[in-house]
Every structure is written in structure tokens, then in C-alpha cells.
Subunit: 228 residues, 2 copies
DNA sequence: GATAAATATTGTAAAAAATACACTAAGAAA
DNA sequence: TTTCTTAGTGTATTTTTTACAATATTTATC
């Protein structure tokens, strides 16, 4: 073999739980594989890791190859390695989760993928292997994260209203919040920049906001608290 | 080859950061390997994962084989997989951290280990590979965990005084707390059982407590909060 | 152009939690 | 009996969280 760099590591893969939010439901993107193994089944996008590829890079590559998604929030989730999780031979998978602005996502399934679809987290089909377990774990993590770090914005359009944001939080955390208290708290974090008003809505137009990542980063440095 | 079950997976290992507390300092147990690779160097206990072995089991086995430790608190930490983290060939390592009652620990280094030693987290030697990075990551995680879940007990003797406990928290989190407020909070969690008094101390004897895991589990079920 | 419909926006009082703070108690040793 | 050392305890203040409802803006409709 001429070069090593493109060889796969047979026992190691990465899988990604991709969350999106469509203004009413939390969704997960699953794909239908066009090739074996797993051909025809809905599954998490995942693939082997290459010999000369860091884990984070592999996770990004796989996401891009299978869904066309690029430049999204990603975080290592957990490593799942039960002996029989994959039926053919031993595969340990390093799972990641990603947060996607669902509006921006134009499905571009790669050549190995015959279909890609958002499923509501509440109406997921049975997926092969331990993929349902991985999603549950990711959801648990997302619920924790969203409470203590302002990452919810990654699921919203660049400009959003406070109602959209509250709705997102309520959907993820699965309980309602008081509107006034929510606004006080979120604006008090000083990471939202007010913009112009919404246009074309058939009622009072809400103010739009964007997330100020620079400000967030600098406040984080100083040890600020972002609990909601 | 007759059987597969004892074969190692060449590209996969597990490493463990073992924390202990000696009533004044937070410590990490590192071992000196008696065999190559890494012979003679202080390093985290770690080893390859076997073909037919779950990750958690592998982590426990390795800990036991290399240090004699058994039946300790363990949690998967993170998976480190930079291409060149191990110089000879590609090895991805699933890191764990463990919490040990340091008093109970009678070092029983296994045959592959020539020495085992507790180092203060503040005076760690330079370890090979990315082991220092793994320890830093583990420390960060421990600091988070200890704030929100009563796992500090795992580092103390079964019976301990509130002063010991406070001291532990202060050492890990790296700041001082008010004695009265600390007591109020920790006793308010309702997971400590008061026992008899200390004996043989040359001053007023403090009351001993033990952690009530059953109670903790049942309160956790009900969604109680254990933030300190 | 008045009214209805829909969503946006805003403040305050009460309750709960966190904080700050210092003296007395107990036991051993001198 | 005095000293030394650590254990143990309560309250007032501040801060944070919670609960709660009326007015404002815009478009659509009659």
C-alpha cells in the first residue's frame, strides 16, 4: 500500500447526533444509507475514522460527506463501545452532537446516502445498533448544556425574537417559563444585540436580536454565569 | 488463532486519572512502567482494550491490573485521539477518571508496574504522550462534578467530619467557604448520616458522618438539587 | 375608521436563597 | 486552671428568584 493516510481504522467510527429546531419541535437528522452495511435503514450519520485523522476532524468530515453540513456547532458526546453494539465485528464509536440552524440547511446528501430527514425527537423511528441510545444520551446532554451555556442560538436563525428563543428553551427543557422573568434573565446576560424589528408579521412586530459571540467569549473569560 | 477474546485492539486504549485526597492535597496516582513501551516513565495507568471487552470493563480491568484498585468510583471522561498523541502508531484512548479513598489504598502494583506514587496535582511531573492534558481535563471535570453532585465522599474515608469534607471541597474548588454556610447547605441535602464522635484527637472531638447512598439515589430520582 | 385578533412589551411585590459575620463549647495538654 | 486547638451554632442583610396582569402595536376584518 502506497500510503497510509486514507486507510480506515476498522474498529473505530464516529457518529453524529444532529439537532435542529423548527420553531415548534426539536428534531434530529437521520439518513438512509444507500450502501451496505445498513443499506436502506434510517441511521445516524457515521463512518469510520481514518488512520491519519484527528477525531474532531473525522466527525466534521463525516458530517459533511453524509449531509453536506459544514461549519456547525459540534461537541464530543461520549464513546460507545459495547462489544456487540455493531453486529458484524467490534466497532467502538466516538459520538458527537451538532446543533444546526435548520432553516439554513439545504439537504445535500452525499453519494452514500439515499435520503435524509428530520424526525421529531418524540417520534423517532427505531434505528439500528445503539443509535437510539446515543440520541437519548445526546438529548440528556443538550438539556444540561442549554441550561448553563448559551448555545441555544446555534439552533436558531442568526436573527431571532425573544419569543422564538424562549420557545426553544421551553421545548428543549420541557417546561414553561414566565415571559418576563425569561427576558430579564436572558437580556441580563449581556450577550444579545438588539436589531431592527421583524417585518411582515400580521401582529405587533417583535424586535430581533442576534447572539454576540465575541461578547460571550469575553464574559466567559471573566467567569460570568450563564445559567438560565 | 483459537480464540479472539483476548486479543487486543491495537488502535484503542483506555487511560485512567485516579484522584485521591490526603486531607490537605488533591493527588493523582501515576505509575512507572516496568515494560516497554514507556518503560521507566511515570504515566497514567492505561492499556489496550480487548476485542471482547466493553469499555467500562476494560477501564476497570486495567485499573485493577496496574494498581490493584477495585470497586472505586469511575466515570468516562473523554476520548483523546490526536493522530500523533502516541508516537509509534495511531492509538485512540478512552480516558476515565476514578475517585479513591486514599487511606484504603494499599499499593499493589501489578507485574508490569515497577512503582506507583501519588503526586500532588500541583506538583505533577511531565508525563509522556498527552497524559498531562488528560489530567488537566479530568481536573476540570472533577471541579464541575463536585459542585453539582455529592461525589466528594468517594475521596474520603467512610466516616468523616464536616471539617474534612469542607476542606476537601475547598481544595478541589480552590476557594474558601464559610463554615456555617457550608454546614447548613451540606446537611440540608439530607444525604449525611450522623454517627458517633471522633476519638483520640487532642481537642474537641468532631462528630463523624457517613454518606447515605440509598437516600441520595432516592432523592436524585425525585429531582433534588445537590449544588454546593 | 372602528373593532377584533394576535403577539410584544413592561414592573413590582413577595418569597426564597445566598451571604456575611463572631462567639461559645469541648477536650487535651501544659 | 490555664492554654491551645478545633467544633459547633444563629441571625440580619443582601441578592436572586418567583409570581403575577395590564398596556402597546400591528394587521386584518367588518
Amino acid at each position: 500500500m502506497a500510503k497510509n493516510s486514507n486507510q480506515i481504522i476498522k474498529n473505530l467510527s464516529t457518529d453524529c447526533v444532529i439537532f435542529g429546531f423548527d420553531n415548534s419541535e426539536l428534531k434530529v437528522l437521520v439518513i438512509k444509507l444507500a450502501v451496505e452495511p445498513g443499506k436502506g435503514e434510517w441511521a445516524l450519520p457515521g463512518s469510520n475514522i481514518l488512520q491519519e485523522e484527528n477525531l474532531d476532524i473525522a466527525a466534521k468530515r463525516v458530517l459533511k460527506e453524509l449531509t453536506g453540513l459544514d461549519n456547525v456547532y459540534m461537541e464530543q458526546l461520549y464513546t460507545f463501545g459495547d462489544v456487540y453494539r455493531f453486529p458484524l465485528f467490534r466497532v467502538v464509536t466516538v459520538a458527537y452532537f451538532a446543533l444546526v440552524k435548520i432553516e439554513d440547511y439545504k439537504p445535500e446528501p452525499g453519494p452514500k446516502v439515499s435520503d435524509a430527514q428530520w424526525f421529531s425527537i418524540k417520534k423517532l423511528p427505531k434505528l439500528p445498533f445503539d443509535h437510539n441510545e446515543i440520541i437519548n444520551y445526546a438529548l440528556k446532554r443538550l438539556k444540561q448544556r442549554v441550561r448553563i451555556r448559551p448555545i441555544g442560538f446555534e439552533l436558531l436563525p442568526l436573527k431571532f425574537t425573544l419569543s422564538q428563543l424562549q420557545n426553544l428553551y421551553e421545548t428543549i427543557m420541557d417546561f414553561d417559563m414566565d415571559k418576563r422573568n425569561f427576558r430579564k434573565k436572558i437580556l441580563g446576560m449581556n450577550v444579545l444585540v438588539p436589531l431592527e424589528k421583524q417585518k411582515g408579521v400580521p401582529h405587533r412586530a417583535a424586535k430581533l436580536y442576534r447572539f454576540d459571540k465575541r461578547k460571550y467569549d469575553s464574559l466567559k473569560e471573566k467567569g460570568y454565569n450563564f445559567e438560565i
